[in-house]
Amino acid sequence: MSNAPADLRYTKSHEWLRSLADGTVEIGITDHAQHTLGDLVFVEVPQAGRKVQAGEACAVVESVKAAADVYAPLAGEITAGNERLATQPETVNAQPYGAGWLMRLRPAPGALEAAQLLSPADYEKVLAAEES
């Protein structure tokens, strides 16, 4: 049984997005993603000011058994990387939807509308399809 909060949107590659009051979006990896990776030992987050394209690899999460890229779900400019993860990567395992966020991004004009994001229900379907 997975855990996909109702107030977030998702991608097929297991990232989540939260719209913040200042117009930026917060991005992290889902509970399913952190569970599949296992205990994280290293997280590399992008630096503020970097411009990214939709689908561009911009962060790395590394566990004891695997390393995976995290892709920007939409185009824009990074406004913050979660520096806490440099010393406490396990935060992503403990609180994937909270303190374990990876980066914040200011969407390029129209990028949010153009992005192919999933509702919690649709993301659950993706997970169900992957498991079957």
Partner: protein, 469 residues
Amino acid sequence: MAFIPHTAADVAAMLAAIGVERIEDLFDEIPPKLRVKSLSGVPEALNEMEIGRLMSARARADGTALSFIGAGAYEHHIPAAVWAITTRGEFYSAYTPYQAEASQGTLQLLYEFQTMIARLAGMEVANASLYDGGSASAEAALMAVRAHRRSKSARILVPTTLHPHYRQVAVATASNQGLKFEELPYCTAEGVIPAASLGRYEGEDITALVIQQPNFFGRLEDVDALTDWAHAHGVLVIAVVNPTSLALLKPPGEWGARGADIAVGEGQPLGVPLSGGGPYFGFMTTRMEYVRQMPGRIVGRTLDAAGREGFTLTLQAREQHIRRAKATSNICTNQGLLVTAATIYLSLMGPQGLARTAAASHARTRELTAALTRVPGVRPVFTGPCFHEVVLQLDRPVAPVLEALSERGIVGGLELSRYYPELGHAVLVCATETKTSGDIERYRSTLAEVLQPARAGRAARTAREVRNA
């Protein structure tokens, strides 16, 4: 059990399964003009006895000349115990094992190698080796581009005082991956990179600066000034160093205010014989901050479930079997046997033994320089300190002189005109602790004799002309 991966029946079954008639059909997509039908120029196979005879004959042709050539590969005394231990069955493999943790002895040895190399370089972490000094330099450039979080240019400043082969290997390895290597000219009076010459890059996006110490000419670069300039301008520093020299010289980890970011080099001087050009091994060290960008394998020390000390491959998520296309490099094995020899060499020599080797090499090179520059027509090219190599200028083309020396059993050095035509009749010579004062005197007197006939000939002609007048 016979190790036959697939029988004719297996092959037929596999082809049938994928609907292909012949194995050749799998290569359809390679255009015919790119295919090689037969290997012309490759001789017929030889049996073991024949190849043994051929190789013995080749080895005899090489002879056992008195060698004063360095240029990246150095003749040092190797204690007999080094290869006696290295070739024991327990160690005798070129590979890090596939089930690495089953071979605790091999892993412990690699761990000790990493520790020794990291301490020698004054750096925080070393990997378990790379192929050679040239490929290590190329890997260091690629690593610097990955590690630099702000630089986007992938521009690498490469002094022409870096070994010409290393420069070629770096360009061949990395330029198709978007790296741009830009050559820094040296000062023709001193044979080093003037730190002031870096001023023209002020304000530009440069990813890394390579500094070889001692440089290809044997000269000592002003590593502190070069390193500090680089760091003040957001440029990473790649040190290319001779491991023997580190017993005496300031290690790259202490260059300038912050130390080099990556230090690599050719490991051959540490117990590996010259043996016709290889195999050698490369080493690489860096700061912990950049360890995840380092290529190659890394052995770590840990505790097992029962609390006993053990060794294990670590940080494998950088490597290709996990990270696949985005791995830090495709290096999965290394020059394990040569690393074994180097570790045993270093443990036998100890810090003092290595320092004495380095000091003796330096002293012999000074003695050689003094002796050879007494020969009329020979002068040093650069002023300033050197380690164990020096560039000399002759009053005539170098190649015939080296040939005449070779006929007299002396390998006199490397002719530089192929790499540095601007230096004229220049030759790079080297002496290590293996050369005695007698050897140096033999080189001096033979060189004097070789250079003499032309002078004598000129003198005789002049006398004849005087008589005929």
